[in-house]
Symmetry: C2
Subunit: 361 residues, 2 copies
């Protein structure tokens, strides 16, 4: 597992495991970080020189819930910022069963063979329960997990969507500063994580399956309209005809949507991640989009918008959390919801009564 060589932390834990483990749930590992007592400069220099062990420790720091880690992490990220940004950030989503892991293995290996440095991250707020439900299935990433120039890190393993997303976004900065020029961000296709992902990637790829029935029911409404490209996976064997038909159907549907702000018309391709067919075509679509948006200025514009978005999103989330996590408000909220439900109080009166109580606390 070349990408974590010299990483003493892992020895004896997961010797044959190229996939990073969610670190927070591993108390042993946390104590090791403390022991080493790296300074901010140690972290920054290590990252910029491309030291994977230190990168991995810095990501652990970003993911930590300890306040003392948080302060150090913020300084490290800030010092890495000038070295970050020079990458293609690809968001990948699709319902469970669409073949995301196999697709990441196929596209990731393809890129690594071309000499790209690839970091694979994830946003999965549910991963606490499942202990890393995505990017955890190493059996489907056999090749990629041992590739010299790949760095795979499962989703931060706990917390609110906002918290998890923040950590993933900050890890992007660290990975880019460490020299990774291609970043994959994976998410699960069934929740709000797509909006968070959409706000941190350059290209939003939706993996779909052929068929207009049950297969599509898992994906949330609104996600299709975020996609810069769709690939119909499992276009192999008996499924080729169905996948080709689905391609046409999606293409027609996308034409009914208004043009995205980027000026780019979303494209649909077919591929077989399992058979490694047409993987290059998917990547060419991404590259074409990058060229197109760099030329018309949208690429930089979007990245700046995303930075602003996260600033405002962080503020909004903090304001909301302070209110809703207040123990007095928490208790009253159910009462007021009931009053609203029973038509005893308007939604607006209930809101203002709660706000008045909050202000006087």
């Amino acid at each position: 597992m070349p990408h974590i060589e010299n990483n003493e932390e892992f020895k004896g834990l997961n010797v044959n495991d190229g996939v990073e483990q969610p670190p927070i749930i591993n108390p042993y590992r946390k104590s090791r970080i403390k022991k080493k007592e790296l300074t901010v400069n140690d972290y920054v220099e290590g990252i910029i020189s491309g030291n994977r062990t230190i990168l991995s420790q810095a990501v652990t720091l970003v993911e930590s819930f300890l306040p003392e880690h948080h302060a150090v992490a913020q300084e490290v990220i800030e010092k890495c910022l000038p070295y970050a940004g020079n990458s293609i950030r690809l968001g990948i989503t699709g319902v469970p069963g669409a073949g995301k892991s196999t697709f990441i293995e196929a596209l990731g290996t393809y890129l690594c063979n071309k000499g790209e440095n690839l970091a694979v991250l994830a946003i999965d707020p549910s991963s606490e329960r499942s202990k890393g439900s995505i990017l955890g299935d190493k059996t489907r990433m056999e090749e990629l997990s041992v590739a010299q120039n790949a760095f795979i890190r499962p989703s931060p393993s706990a917390g609110s969507l906002g918290g998890v997303a923040r950590k993933t976004r900050e890890s992007i900065v660290l990975c880019e500063a460490a020299g990774f020029n291609t970043i994959f961000v994976e998410t699960v296709g069934v929740g709000q994580s797509e909006t968070a992902m959409h706000s941190m990637v350059d290209f939003f790829l939706l993996i779909q399956l052929a068929g207009t029935g049950d297969e599509l029911q898992g994906i949330k409404r609104g996600i299709m309209e975020m996609a810069d490209g769709i690939t119909i996976n499992k276009c192999d064997g008996n499924n080729i005809e169905k996948a080709q038909l689905a391609k046409v159907q999606f293409q027609n549907a996308l034409h009914l949507f208004p043009m995205p702000e980027s000026g780019w018309t979303p494209k649909v391709t077919t591929c077989s991640a399992f058979e490694k067919i047409n993987i290059d075509e998917v990547w060419n679509m991404v590259l074409e989009y990058i060229r197109f948006t760099k030329k018309n200025g949208y690429f930089d514009y979007k990245r700046k918008q995303q930075s602003k978005y996260w600033m405002y999103e962080t503020i909004d989330e903090y304001l909301r959390t302070s209110f809703y996590n207040n123990p007095i408000i928490e208790k009253l909220l159910t009462q007021y919801e009931l009053k609203v439900n029973n038509n005893e109080l308007t939604s607006f009166a209930a809101a203002h009564k709660l706000l008045d109580i909050y202000k006087d606390l």
Copy 2:
């Protein structure tokens, strides 16, 4: 203009004008309300007895920016709540040019002729500038504006989207308590007002035009997925074939979307509002939806969810407004945005620095 008969306020102002005028910008009218000094009970009794003049004054009260009006308005709404809710709330949107006014005239007249009591409201946060840009075009609502059982009220004429939407939602309560059993809420199809409208209506109708080109570019991404039904308007003359084709295209596209929470498969119809063709078909689609969702329980569930949504939305908006309208924060915000843009500060660090300053104010 039967629906505002006995309304002395209007005499000499808009004698031949069945459409209510945005009242806030009319100082004369405000002073008249003060003079009458109706009590909360006067308002409530008047509304419940179906007195249009008093209903109209109560809506004016809801729309007022004066704090003393606000308190009275809230009491009136609360007392009307037990009499409200017994209606069909239809949201109507579409890009400018889709023929919304003509459609409302056609469907509204159709319903009035059937003996329904119809109130037509609007959400248009831009109406301050245009002094009521929607529902202002009376020439297209000649019939409806003189119908005995129709009550037409333009959008509240100023403020944030949240504020305008709140006023429209509260006006729905008043209209229902006054005996209107059909409520139209119109919006413009080009902004976030659809999300607000979606959160206050039972059925979301999108008016589209045939053609997959420029006509569609005006409508915002994500709106199509909110629709419970689409009607392709202007299906008349030379346009019939194109409209029929568009119907099939939209139907196919909608099949690619996942099933909405309601369990209802969105339908597509064609109509000509101008020629008054197939207007009944559109209404039958709405009725079918109401029957369907009342049977499976979604109708009540959604209304309760909407009430909760507005409580939380009001809280969130207040928390945000308090922060962003703080003069010190307002000044610093631009500075911090710039630092984030220049990669001097991460989005998260900037947010937390601003929040720390805010907490110490």
